[in-house]
């Protein structure tokens, strides 16, 4: 036990040492501009060793992605932990704010998320435990949101004509869009549109959440939709 266990723990430490180094290097530039040799040197190892712990550069980056994903989910979990007297609708807003704050505080992890989502080589994803964990986290985050919506439908704060699953996905995806823009803008990317238009991101996000909330808040008067 002590034997095998210690080995495994040692191995895990090395792995983390490499991920630490990779974060330092990649976050200071970008994935493309970082080489495996640089990362190895930063970790005080040689290039070959990196490949004993990670299949390739992409898997190493996905390991970083997983860290970010874990961190984000721990924040979501905190929202739901312990006792609180938030309505479902409030929970949704808080989750949105949590997400925005995460992206602002950890832009590099968000960059990693975006890269992760752009990977089209399904093969690479299926065989990676890091990727699996990321997917697992995403599923969990969605479940948090579904829970919030169900709470909201019970306490009357959320319109119960919606399907919680669907609504959760919609909120999830649209919030993602907003934060992606926020992120791009923070990187001085094309979205100086915001500057041009003198729109503050904080205010924008506030309005976005209000819009969502307004849209899904329960209404007194029911009306029939025109869809067949």
């Amino acid at each position: 036990m002590s034997k095998e266990e210690r080995k495994a723990r040692e191995k895990e430490r090395r792995r983390n040492q490499i991920i630490d180094a990779a974060e330092r290097v990649i976050f200071s530039k970008s994935l493309e501009q970082s080489t495996m040799v640089e990362i190895a040197e930063e970790a005080g190892l040689s290039k070959g060793t990196l490949y004993l712990y990670f299949k390739n550069k992409t898997e190493l980056y996905i390991a970083i992605t997983q860290r970010g994903s874990d961190l984000l989910n721990s924040k979501f979990a905190k929202v739901f932990s312990g006792t609180h007297d938030y309505t479902g609708l409030e929970l949704i807003k808080i989750m949105g704010e949590t997400y925005l704050n995460f992206v602002r505080e950890n832009p590099n992890y968000f960059t990693a998320f975006m890269y992760y989502e752009s990977i089209s080589d399904v093969e690479a994803l299926e065989n990676s435990k890091y990727a699996n964990q990321c997917d697992q986290n995403r599923r969990e985050a969605l479940n948090f949101m579904i829970r919030a919506l169900q709470i909201g439908m019970q306490d009357g704060s959320v319109d119960d004509r919606y399907e919680p699953k669907e609504l959760a996905i919609i909120i999830f995806a649209s919030t993602r869009g907003l934060t992606a823009m926020t992120h791009a803008s923070g990187r001085g990317h094309y979205f100086e549109l915001l500057d041009e238009m003198e729109v503050s991101i904080t205010k924008l996000f506030e309005n976005f959440l209000n819009l969502l909330v307004e849209g899904m808040a329960s209404k007194k008067e029911l009306k029939d939709s025109g869809n067949g």
Copy 2:
């Protein structure tokens, strides 16, 4: 005139011939898996020639991106052209549907859009006429949306307590989020969540638009927001 002009036209034709070839090659695989030699061969030229027409591989891909961007904008323009009796709110919905349809019909262009937005080397963007055109198109699209909202505020279909610019950006970004998910899902990416949950994208999008519309539709009874 005839002289210089013919030259320029010839050059333009070559350029398009290269972009055509690049689309065929890159769309059949992916940017990373496509080499400049392959593209050159597909175009019936040699690698060196490609570099007479495009600074580098990225610029060539941005040229493809621009095509997609132009195509999308032409579809938006069509929505606004001619006479119609849509309300502002209806125009917003139609724009959203137009966008979704574009992504479904041209997933490869959308992939290009996502890549484009991930470029963090601002230098590369500023010196490229293709990138400038993309940015220009984005601005124009946003202006279409602002116009629709202003129309809506006048005809009473859109809540005029919102700032059109802000609202336009919000709708823009959140719709982008939805379509990105649609796109990822279509690529068999992690978002088999949708399958798992038995949610159809069409229905999802419908609900998303309804949610937005509900949120921004003008309300009879005004209420004060709690924000300082």
